[in-house]
Symmetry: C2
């Protein structure tokens, strides 16, 4: 149903605490938590984006342990969620993979914790996702967030999750909340 | 505003994969991710519930590192979220602490991944939370979830977050989604 939505967890280019552009390390919990969310909400795929070969290999080793190795029998629900995970060296590489699958360039949507003048709201994006012909690629930054360049190169910037004077959710929590707002079962939530 | 809502992360009594009652280990990521959610949505407090002294000490050491130690200067947003964290030896002990603060026993709400015949929906609980005189204590199970006994001893059981044929979110993701459904800014989500 919602297989036109893909998410990317970006480890480069992102800011560090001093707003310098860096490459962050892949976090094991991100892979598991976010792939379970991706599976729960029926996404088309979850791209882990890192240019570092050592990190690419690490992610592939983790996935294959749970998908094909001993882990698959121990924890089948993890195997199922990890089947959605792909590794890409760059946002553009992931973009090209989605384009190949859908024969159409995905609309890129950046997320972040700060307000943005032209941001798109949740209901509006929820509506756009109903056009199943168009793939969407929702990007989340690790570290201190996606760079301005990534935001500028996106078709949309999504409104932040507003807290009560505090906007420092983990990326794992932000993914969970945003996917629920975009794809969560509204009927169930008001029964 | 929402300081009448407290959450408890239960490490005992919970089920393991064979539905035996066990005590799970505290996970560092749970403390940080969930306390950030608690701070974002303006909760009254976040109780980590474990009967094991070694685990109580571990949690207190982590909190004090970030609250008072070197971590406080390095990452002030983490200090701020951890100020909401308390450790209790049992659900009842946490319950008593909330009762003391509010001069009123909290309404206990259990969560879980399986449907429950008499569950309360999100909109309904969202409405109940507006009565600020009444504290609410929302319980999340680690491992394979809260025991039947805990559910039976609760005033309400909250409807599960329904996925597309998959109900295996991490507890961290479940907390994020459920707090957003109960307290998230609805105006922002439709702007």
């Amino acid at each position: 149903m919602s297989s036109n939505l893909y998410i990317g967890l970006v480890h480069h280019p992102v800011y560090d605490r001093r707003r310098e552009v860096v490459t962050t390390a892949v976090t094991n919990f991100d892979i598991h938590d976010i792939s379970r969310c991706a599976r729960t909400f029926g996404l088309g795929g979850f791209f882990i984006i890192t240019p570092l070969e050592s990190q690419v290999e690490l992610v592939e080793r983790i996935i294959s342990h749970w998908r094909d190795g001993e882990g698959a029998a121990y924890n089948p629900t993890r195997k199922e969620s990890l089947s959605l995970v792909r590794v890409s060296r760059s946002i553009d590489e992931a973009d090209q993979e989605i384009s190949r699958l859908h024969q159409r360039r995905p609309k890129r949507v950046a997320t972040g914790a700060s307000p943005h003048p032209d941001s798109i709201g949740y209901d509006e994006l929820r509506g756009l996702l109903k056009d199943e012909e168009t793939p969407f690629f929702l990007l989340f930054g690790t570290g201190w967030g996606l760079t301005q360049e990534v935001k500028d190169s996106s078709d949309y910037v999504l409104a932040p999750v507003e807290g009560k004077g505090y906007n420092h959710l983990s990326v794992r929590s932000a993914v969970a909340i945003i996917l629920d707002r975009l794809l969560g079962d509204r009927i169930n939530s008001s029964e």
